[in-house]
Subunit: 218 residues, 2 copies
C-alpha cells in the first residue's frame, strides 16, 4: 500500500452514486481528478458486496497512482480491492483492528463528531481525521450537531493529525474551512451533483489553494 | 481457525434478529445449541459494522468450541470476530478472495441458486454448498425459484460437496430434505420464531437424525 506520508487532503471527494444520479461514477471520478481532486473515498451503502467490489476494481484501474483510493467502512472491500486505505466512522470497526489487517502503510482515516472523539483519536492508529459535519448537510443525516468554523478552529488546536472537514462545503465556504486550519475539504454534492464535475473540482481546488496561500501569508 | 473436516451440517441455524423479535439473540443461540444446533451463521443486514462486530464478539464468547460460528457475507467481520468461517451468497465477494484472507482452515460456504452455480462451485475453494432456496420462503425474497426436492436430489448427484438446504424448512418437511440427500437443514424462522427455540431445535434434530438413519437403512 501507498506510503501515507504522501497523503494530500486538499480536495477530497466522497462518492455517492445517488447524488451523482445519471452520471457514471467511474467517469465522474476521472473528471474530478482532472479538475484537481487529491483523494477519492468510495462510499456506497446500497450496493451488494459483489457490486461494490466490481465497482472498486474498475475505479482502481482508472485512477492515477498519486491519488489514493479509500473505501468507506468496509475493511473487506479495502482488502479485496487492494485500495490505499479505509475511512472509518464511529459506527464502523475499531481503528486498531483495521490497522491490524491493512498494515502500517495503509491510509486510515476516522470521522470525529465531537471533542471527546477527537481526544480519543489521538490514541488511535489513524492518519487523518474528518471533522464531521463541519456544517449541516442533507447528504448524511445520521451525524451529530455541526462543528462550525469555531469548532474546527478548536479542533485544529487540539490535535496534530491532518484534518479534513466534511459536510455542507461548497465553492462559497471552502476558503473559510482552509482559513480555519483544515488541511483540506471533503465534498460529496459540490462535485457529484455539479453539472460539470471537472469544472466544479477545478474551481474548488483554486479556492482552496488561494485560501491556503493567504492563510499562510498572514 | 477450526479444521473444516469437523463440520457437521446437520442442523444449521441462520440468525435473523428481526425474526427473533423480542428475544435476545445471544440467549436464543445458546438455547438453540442446547437443543442440538450444529452450526451458527450470523446474518444481520441492518446493523452498523460496529454493532455487528460487538454482537459477534459476544456470541463467540458463549458458543461451545465444537459449534462453528460463520458470518454471512462480511469477510471483514469474519476476520475481526475471528469467526470459524464465512458464508457467501452469489452477490458477495468471490470465494477465492475470501479464502485468500481467511486461510485454508476456515470454513467457507456458498449459496447456489441454480445448476449453473452448482457446477461453477466445483471449481471454487468452498467447503459446503447451500441449496437456496429449497422451498419458497418469506424470510429471503431476493433469491431465484425454489429448487424443490427433485432439484435437491439432482444437486446431490451432481456434486460431492456437503450440502445443506435452506428455505421454508420446518418440522414437517425436514425429513424429506435429508431423504433427498442433504447433509443437513438450515433454518431461520423454524427456530428464531419458535416460542421455545430449544425445544424447536431438539425436535428438528431428532427428525433429522431419524430420517438420516432410515435413509441409510434403505
Amino acid at each position: 500500500m501507498k506510503n501515507n506520508k504522501r497523503l494530500d487532503l486538499s480536495l477530497y471527494l466522497v462518492t455517492d452514486r445517488k447524488v451523482a444520479g445519471h452520471l457514471d461514477i467511474t467517469d465522474l471520478i476521472q473528471k474530478a481528478i482532472k479538475g484537481g481532486v487529491t483523494v477519492i473515498q468510495l462510499r456506497e451503502k446500497d450496493l451488494t458486496t459483489r457490486e461494490f467490489y466490481q465497482l472498486g476494481i474498475k475505479i482502481k484501474e482508472v485512477i492515477p497512482p498519486d491519488v489514493p483510493l479509500l473505501i468507506d467502512d468496509r475493511l473487506d472491500l479495502a482488502l479485496a480491492i487492494r485500495a490505499d486505505g479505509l475511512h472509518l466512522g464511529q459506527t464502523d470497526l475499531p481503528a486498531v483492528l483495521a490497522r491490524k489487517y491493512l498494515g502500517s502503510q495503509a491510509i486510515i482515516g476516522l470521522s470525529v463528531e465531537n471533542f471527546a472523539q477527537l481526544q480519543e483519536a489521538s490514541r488511535l492508529p489513524v492518519d487523518y481525521l474528518a471533522i464531521s459535519p463541519v456544517f449541516s448537510t442533507p447528504t448524511k443525516t445520521d451525524t451529530g450537531p455541526a462543528w462550525g468554523l469555531e469548532g474546527l478552529k478548536s479542533a485544529r488546536i487540539l490535535t496534530d493529525l491532518p484534518l479534513v472537514a466534511i459536510g455542507g462545503i461548497n465553492e462559497g465556504n471552502a476558503a473559510s474551512i482552509v482559513k480555519a486550519g483544515a488541511d483540506g475539504v471533503a465534498v460529496v454534492s459540490a462535485i457529484c451533483a455539479a453539472p460539470d464535475p471537472e469544472e466544479a473540482a477545478r474551481k474548488l481546488k483554486k479556492t482552496i489553494l488561494e485560501a491556503r496561500k493567504s492563510h499562510k501569508l498572514r
